[in-house]
Subunit: 364 residues, 2 copies
Amino acid sequence: MEKEEYTNLSERKKRILISAVEDYIQQASPITSSAVQNKFEEKISTATLRNELNALEAMGFLRQIHTSGGRVPTSKGYRFYVNSMMGDIPLDKKALADIQTLFNNRTVYLGDIINEIASVVSKATNYPSVVMLHGFEKLVIKNIKIIPLLTGQALILIETNSGVINNTMDIKSTVVMQTFTDASNFLTQTFANQTIASMIKNMNEYKQSMKKELLEYKEIFDALLKAFTGLIEALENNSKIISSGELKLLENPEYTENPEKAKKILNVMHNSEEMSQALKHEVDEKSVRFKIGSEIPVEDLQECAIATTDYEVDGESIASVGIIGPQRMDYAKIASALKFVVGEFQNMKTLQNNVNTDEKNDND
Amino acid sequence: MEKEEYTNLSERKKRILISAVEDYIQQASPITSSAVQNKFEEKISTATLRNELNALEAMGFLRQIHTSGGRVPTSKGYRFYVNSMMGDIPLDKKALADIQTLFNNRTVYLGDIINEIASVVSKATNYPSVVMLHGFEKLVIKNIKIIPLLTGQALILIETNSGVINNTMDIKSTVVMQTFTDASNFLTQTFANQTIASMIKNMNEYKQSMKKELLEYKEIFDALLKAFTGLIEALENNSKIISSGELKLLENPEYTENPEKAKKILNVMHNSEEMSQALKHEVDEKSVRFKIGSEIPVEDLQECAIATTDYEVDGESIASVGIIGPQRMDYAKIASALKFVVGEFQNMKTLQNNVNTDEKNDND
DNA sequence: TATTAGCAGTCTTACCAAACGAGTGCTAAC
DNA sequence: GTTAGCACTCGTTTGGTAAGACTGCTAATA
């Protein structure tokens, strides 16, 4: 349907529309016929441009706020611009080099990695970023270690194919050290190369059919199970949104002039229900996807645009990574930055996993 | 000097000033003679109040923006109010109960604890919070564990008297498992009950004088030393500010009407040099300290007020915890919330440390 | 001497009208 | 199909006025 409408557009109309949208993205003030004239490569009068802009408005790509005030792109206008740009993503070497300085690749914990993704994405795009972990259970377990602390707690470390997950459990002081080592080995042997989801599913079964000599692990199993179901519940309920750079919204005139709008958006950003709606997308081939204005199924974001991509590990999507900004955003730059940053994180993980992925388990 | 000036104030002037400041804190609009009249317990005419307010203005406690527009407290006015209030901090049971729901006491890592303090303080006070770690090296080491991961890195876990510090180091794949266990035990035996500072100082010496049979630890020592000096440098340079709830600034009319001001403040909040200046204070007995307006030695914060307190472990101040807001803030409520929240964190730590602090080291 | 009523003076805010100007739509000519 | 030119629209700025909120001051009062 979109495609058909676009065929109505003459080549020149297309170029004019692109010029117009680009002008608005840069200037943040309504597009006038003379502004387009300055930007446009061919010699063409403002009167002709007015005719063309008028036609584009009639087709729904542009919109006038008031008669004498220039035009502004509609969501449809931005959508056309984005579709026409998506082929050639500019990879500005200088910019990529700048982004590279933002990385800190000493993180091993999944939580830290997610935070770091959010932080780097926001810095690289200059917009608030959001990361939602949705594929936590799909992570593949590589190694499990239970490490007792002096405080009466124990640290549960689960190495996965995407970083280390950690949680704590309370322990009885009667449990002796050897038990933890044995339990770690047993857990690793039992669950290695399973997903978190299947570990949780199987753990109950194992516990039932447990032989006598392993009964001492029961306490640990129980605590572990509790810790993990708790973690997953927490992720599914509230805390699964990680965001960064909220303040960058205030760098854009549309929000400094109207802080109420910014507040609304930032509120939605912390509502996991709505953000989940906003970030959701059909499976398709594109690595970076845009939702523009009315395309976003969340009331308070319909004046915004959202760019999203997936953080994938071993081909599985673990998290959605996105940024939120005004519709007037630099789509090309954002697409390339987002793609690059998330790609780098994926590469980092892949490299690390290859280091000694086939080394045998060594918990003792 | 302050005290002397205050003695010039009649009892009634003091009460009027307190009424006036309170009114402004609640209403956020200039104090008028009739507003004070409504608030004031005694029957007193607006004309008399005008005389009194005029006198208070002459003494520098209040200030008029323009002739016909009511008055606003000066920094000195707020200071008087704060000093006169500091005796009786109200402990609203309901509010404290609300705050208590914000705690999540399953954190074991120092970094997470610091983040959590920032987060809870901000939620409890409704202002942006800042935590600066300044006493990292004063932490006392309890236990050291080096845990190899499958990715060719090793996790360094240092249990201290205030949570676990973690860092990573790269390892050669030739190092065998037993070495890590032995090294952990050796490190713990060597450095337990020393501070981080003295560990770093002594580590080099130990390395020099190391016996032959311990030479295999050298690699680990080197990596460890590198990891730790790196961590400390990072803390001392840039990343030592943890903040939370920046957006809450926009809930106050002084900043929604003037987002530029908010941006300025938020910028300063991420400048460790300036924040360090702003949070610094003389050693004194007070648990919560206020700096008001001109008392803050940072240009861009001179329209603000800052409340700070120390996060202490075993009597040593580890971090400064503070909030930033307009001078028109609810000082009493903030003092009690800040004191309560940080106090709870301190208690939590103390309890945990007491659980099995005298249990012997158990790394194998 | 302290308090108060009353009033004049000051300054802000709201409102309105006029002038301005940026930008459009339309028409007529090319 | 393109363009120059002009009338028109509508937001923005400016200036000027009226209303309202407070204050400072003065003079009367207890």
